[in-house]
Symmetry: C2
Subunit: 189 residues, 2 copies
């Protein structure tokens, strides 16, 4: 796993993220200090705080980019709301190439072990649903359909992500997401 994560090493930010994730995995999130993260990355605490507001943000630093990628995938217009959402999902799949899977898997296991981190992740997903709802209403979709389509898109994304990081999973993110969407359509048919 470290080999794969090593691909992210380079700048100070990436070194700090790798060091933090390694420590979170071995000694727990709550049991890790910023001082230890900085020391493990051979950097100062001051450098840490130039890159991250706090320890938690090491795991959530891409929040803005995360939403931007979903919104960037949204077509300018489409005949129906779900076509818009599928565009957003396809765009987001690009955030999760194979070389990122070990990092995402490790991050997920840290988050799954910590209630406060789960809440933070939940808020991130809720914020994404709000942003997608707004983008759909801006494209003329009525409020209730926009909220339904956006929340459904987030559900498909979350389910796909959980499958993608599962041990032994080999399918690409996009393959999984297409399968999950098809399964949901079958469930509702």
């Amino acid at each position: 796993m470290m080999g794969a994560m090593g691909r992210w090493q380079g700048g100070a930010s990436e070194r700090l993220r790798d060091a933090a994730l390694g420590l979170f995995l071995t000694q727990g999130y709550d049991g890790t200090t910023v001082a230890e993260i900085a020391a493990a990355a051979d950097l100062t605490e001051r450098t840490f705080f130039r890159h991250f507001a706090d320890k938690r943000e090491v795991l959530f630093v891409d929040g803005d980019e995360f939403e931007r990628v979903f919104l960037g995938g949204l077509p300018d217009q489409a005949d129906d709301p779900m076509t818009l959402i599928v565009g957003a999902l396809d765009g987001a799949a690009g955030l999760f190439p194979e070389e990122r899977r070990p990092w995402s898997r490790a991050r997920q296991s840290v988050i799954a072990a910590n209630h406060a981190l789960q809440e933070r992740e939940l808020l991130k997903m809720s914020s994404l649903a709000v942003a997608l709802t707004r983008a759909l209403t801006a494209r003329g979709v009525d409020a209730a359909s926009a909220a339904l389509a956006a929340e459904t898109g987030v559900t498909v994304f979350r389910t796909s992500f959980a499958l993608w990081v599962a041990e032994g999973e080999r399918r690409t993110f996009k393959e999984i997401q297409n399968a999950v969407l098809a399964r949901l359509q079958a469930l509702l048919a």
Copy 2:
């Protein structure tokens, strides 16, 4: 609105809830103290804390009952996961009779104005999705379908609730929920 909320008056718990909601609406949630709530209900702070752990729980006191009603509506078995979820949704609709609408509408406007309360509401919905997912896997549904169906059920519920408390809405909760489910099916068809 106060006339309708008055139907909930009776026991100390109901008096405290009505007093609290009235104060939250007129002077804001953050600007209201437990002492003021108790005084407005003509009761002591000590009585307040016999009924509620804190000020916030006035708005969330039915959390356990809330989940129980969803789970109570779940059939013991069904041919497909969404039939199970529709059973849960139908059960939950019983929580929202016409005489509760003014209270729910007022509660919603208090929550919409406060970020921390919105987070609490979000956690309540997430907890519901987890409970429904578990109940579905216990009935033999595979993990991914269970999560998809449960999250979709919560999305339908949340969307329906938002419509039900909207100003001027006259349809019953169940009518709205059926319409929302049909709309979601159409979106995914």
